[in-house]
Amino acid sequence: MIPGALRETVARDGERIVYVARDRLLAAMHWLKETPGQEFNYLVDVTAVEFRDRERPIEVVYFLRSLERRADIRIKVELPSTDELVVDSVWSLWHGADWLEREVYDMFGITFRGHPDLRRILMWETYAEGYPLRKSFPLRGRFSRAEQVRQALNANPEAHYSLEELSIAEAGGDLPEDMRDRLRRGERGVIPEPPPS
């Protein structure tokens, strides 16, 4: 029995889906990975699903596979959209979760507690329009085209160095003054509050 399992269904492709309580996720994943007879040692994918029905909770979906048994399973965690979007990171179990969780964070704004380096991956670090794959995010972006162009033209060309890289350069002692300022301020994108709908 998977620890923290709430209910089970079967997907249309015949795969088992198990919903797990949010606070038992790591226990469940650890059990699935280490228990003999389960041995789901391979993380296929991590993603999230937000439904058009805003009342429905956002789901974080984990695709697991046992390479020995050639078996798959899908684990889901539900995050009520009224609640804080936080879930434990599974990076300690599968390092492949690193970029996958960063992408979910980048696209959905779900925070993975315990992730070693949670920052945006597909959008740039100072991107301030929000989380593109959320249903509240308009297809053409939150800012107007004029505003996007204005921001792009005014962008500091050095701003595409991440804070981590700036700190490496600062340790080397050859960082220009404006970049050192940026490092000191810890400048990142400011995510606007979603508009009241």
Partner: protein
């Protein structure tokens, strides 16, 4: 044709007297590296890309160097981010297919098949036998062109120009076939939910047979030029090594996973399109270095060629589309003359094909690794969520782990060995 043998006094490191590429013991190599004197703590931050031919697209690597040794490698992706997954939520299932062309644009037909299979799984559609075999042909043609691009560009990265020309010549022949079949070389949009955009034209089978006959010769030539080449072996062996356990924990797939000695191939282990009925071998490496990835991809081309030949032998006659007017558009003449057909045509074009509530994930063995298409439907004609599991994105995430501790020039070899295509990494 007589086999040409080259007698050389090979005093080059990495090759033994018989001309076999001898493996350099990894331990000795590691000792060599640590024996280098430490020249102080002055590290250098180098920005590589996004416009750099050796990064295979708009990949940007920020590399912290100690002398020439990579201390830290921080990849930046997203320069080609197009929001395909978001766009997919605003499109009918058949309208998503052109988007898949543009993800992994080195194997467009294979991506088309992946999405169609996922949509069919979601809707519970069983495709016709002829369509199944034609899709296998499309997938294996894609594998060959993708591996040919990989071989060509990687050999250029490491200083061998000739294999590039040979590989691209063969790729051109497949592109001609793709053009014959779909009318496009790159944006093929081959599949439709429940079938294909078009049947293969006359002479396609003959031309493909001709290709499968000649193609192994080119592979043999590339094999002869590279596999025992001292420079090639020296630059690739023991570089970017990943053990099986590391490959698994980093979720690698495809040739990257198999080169590390994990025999997982979706075609064998979770078969789709009847791959279990074809006779082919899963190619598995041993050392998990750049050299083994090369060997795995080269051998996979031979195997794809075998599958193509078998598929051509068994290609059945019959329709390419399922007989279901709710899914497949009626022919133009019927839509213009038959009332019922016109209604179906109108409903499909205006409303799209509705999928039942539920979700489906289909992983297929793309040239780069496991391409997953995950579709979630709420009962309308547009998916709630379309997720691509991008193999080269996930394979690339292991790059820092592979590159750190190697030389900067090895970083180029390692990055090439991942076989990334930025259209798919960034989507």
């Amino acid at each position: 044709m007589t086999k040409r043998t080259v007698e050389l006094e090979l005093a080059t490191p990495g090759v033994d007297a018989q001309g076999r590429a001898a493996r350099m013991p990894l331990k000795a190599r590691a000792a060599e590296e640590t024996a280098e004197p430490d020249l102080g703590a002055e590290h250098l931050l180098v920005n590589l890309g996004p416009q750099h031919p050796a990064t295979h697209g708009v990949l940007r690597l920020v590399v912290e160097l100690d002398g020439e040794t990579v201390v830290r490698c921080i990849p930046h992706v997203g320069y080609l981010h197009s929001g395909f997954e978001k766009l997919g939520e605003y499109r009918h299932y058949n309208q998503i297919i052109p988007l898949t062309d543009r993800t992994d644009y080195l194997s467009p037909m294979s991506n088309n098949v992946g999405l169609a299979l996922a949509a069919e799984k979601l809707m519970g559609i069983a495709i016709t036998p002829r369509c199944t075999v034609l899709r296998v042909i499309a997938c294996e043609m894609s594998r060959i062109i993708s591996h040919m691009v990989w071989l060509g560009t990687t050999s250029i990265d490491l200083g061998a120009f000739t294999p590039f020309l040979w590989a691209f010549q063969q790729r051109e022949r497949i592109y001609d076939l793709q053009e014959m079949w779909t009318g496009a070389r790159l944006t093929t949009s081959l599949t439709r939910v429940g079938g294909l955009m078009a049947d293969i034209p006359d002479r396609f089978v003959d031309k493909l047979r001709e290709f499968t006959g000649d193609f192994p010769k080119t592979l043999d030539e590339i094999d002869r030029v590279l596999t025992r080449n001292a420079v090639w072996a020296g630059r690739t062996q023991g570089v970017g090594t990943l053990s099986a356990a590391e490959a698994i924990t980093h979720s690698l797939s495809g040739p990257m996973l198999r080169a590390s000695g994990v025999p997982y191939d979706v075609r064998k282990d979770k078969p789709y399109l009847g791959y279990e009925t074809y006779d082919f071998d899963v190619v598995v490496g041993e050392h998990g270095d750049v050299y083994d990835r090369y060997l795995v991809r080269l051998e996979e081309c031979y195997q794809s060629n075998r599958i193509l030949q078998q598929a051509l032998d068994r290609l059945p006659d019959g329709p390419i589309n399922v007989d279901d007017p709710r899914v497949i558009l009626p022919s133009k003449t019927r839509a213009m003359s038959d009332m019922e057909a016109m209604i179906f045509h109108f409903k499909q074009v205006m409303e799209g094909v509705k999928a039942p509530v539920g979700e489906a994930y289909v992983g297929i063995e793309n040239p780069k690794g496991e391409l997953g298409n995950y579709l979630v439907s709420d009962g309308t004609a547009k998916p709630v969520r379309w997720r691509i599991r991008p193999p080269s994105f996930i394979n690339l995430s292991a790059l820092p782990r592979m590159a750190e501790g190697h030389l900067l020039s090895d970083l180029i070899a390692i990055n090439a060995s991942v076989d990334i295509v930025m259209g798919e990494v960034d989507r």
